[in-house]
Symmetry: C2
Subunit: 213 residues, 2 copies
Amino acid sequence: MSKLRFEISMSLDGFTAGPDPTEEEPLGKGGEQLHEWVIKLAAWREPHGREGGEVNASTEPFEESLANTGAVIMGRNMFGGGPGPWGEEPWEGWWGDEPPFHCPVFVLTHHEREPLHKQGTTFTFVTDGPESALEQAREASGGKDISLGGGANAAQQYLAAGLIDELNLNVVPVLLGSGTRLFDNLDGDGVQPELVRVIDAPGVTHLRYRFVR
Amino acid sequence: MSKLRFEISMSLDGFTAGPDPTEEEPLGKGGEQLHEWVIKLAAWREPHGREGGEVNASTEPFEESLANTGAVIMGRNMFGGGPGPWGEEPWEGWWGDEPPFHCPVFVLTHHEREPLHKQGTTFTFVTDGPESALEQAREASGGKDISLGGGANAAQQYLAAGLIDELNLNVVPVLLGSGTRLFDNLDGDGVQPELVRVIDAPGVTHLRYRFVR
């Protein structure tokens, strides 16, 4: 069966975004540093229409994460922030006319909305919870893996429910001090992780954990 | 100059002890799991008077941490818990008649107390702050490194003050859910870490970071 994989970059002190996000700094103060390792990869730059970039020890795990993804699940903020209902002329999110996913995307939200069709990607809005989103994603994934894109809040719901099969944690050597904590609002009674791979790459350590139920 | 090294075991979700510590479970619920990797090492068992044990990828970093230590700094709780003054018949701590340190130990406390002499180890109680403790430890270390033993509160004071030269973080694949967070009460403006070594060992990942001022 297709796995639910969760991939995220986290500071050494446990944050997936820094404090005080603004329009200029949506990842909060210092948060951009969490993604420097990926933005410098040729494997990331090419599909994002940018030239150059490096091939290094991060290339393989990054390419793996793209290769076998048949559907994506994300939280409302990752689709396109802000609380409350969608409104009469709902905003179309962060992702532009050709989102980088090229597969079905399921957005967790409390507010119903018709699916949004973009080039190569359809966003489906799921209001009946994470398990339902996972079920729909699994049906749409064609047997490939499902990638949980974040943010932290969505991830915590899936972690707490024991639904994640594989966690790919990219630990960046920076102390942000505050911001959005990845591991929060959990209890210690859930499914436990097992380390399966470590890759030491420039500016990041890739840790892969498996959750066995 | 001798380095200030900080060595600690942390759960994947960032805790150095679990919730609800009791006399039976001083490391809180689930907290013992953080130290399983070291207790099974022959290199740990032999000096603790226990037989058997493994030689594995943790042996080298564990032996390194012992080899070059000339003095130890620890918080009051790590010496022997409980708040408040020492009292008329002060408790002698967790460490027994022959503490495992075999070098001068400096204990951060708000309450003055005469030094406590044990076999091979003298505990000196420092009431004028972490920088003073570091100065005294450095003088007593004979040019060797100083090891910051923890707990989290003492570590946070040294991290916030930018006084740690090397962090050896032993990440254990367990989610405790709550407890004592290592990285807390910091701001993101301090000295930043740089990863210098990764060792993938049974039941633990050893990450070494250097702080460069």
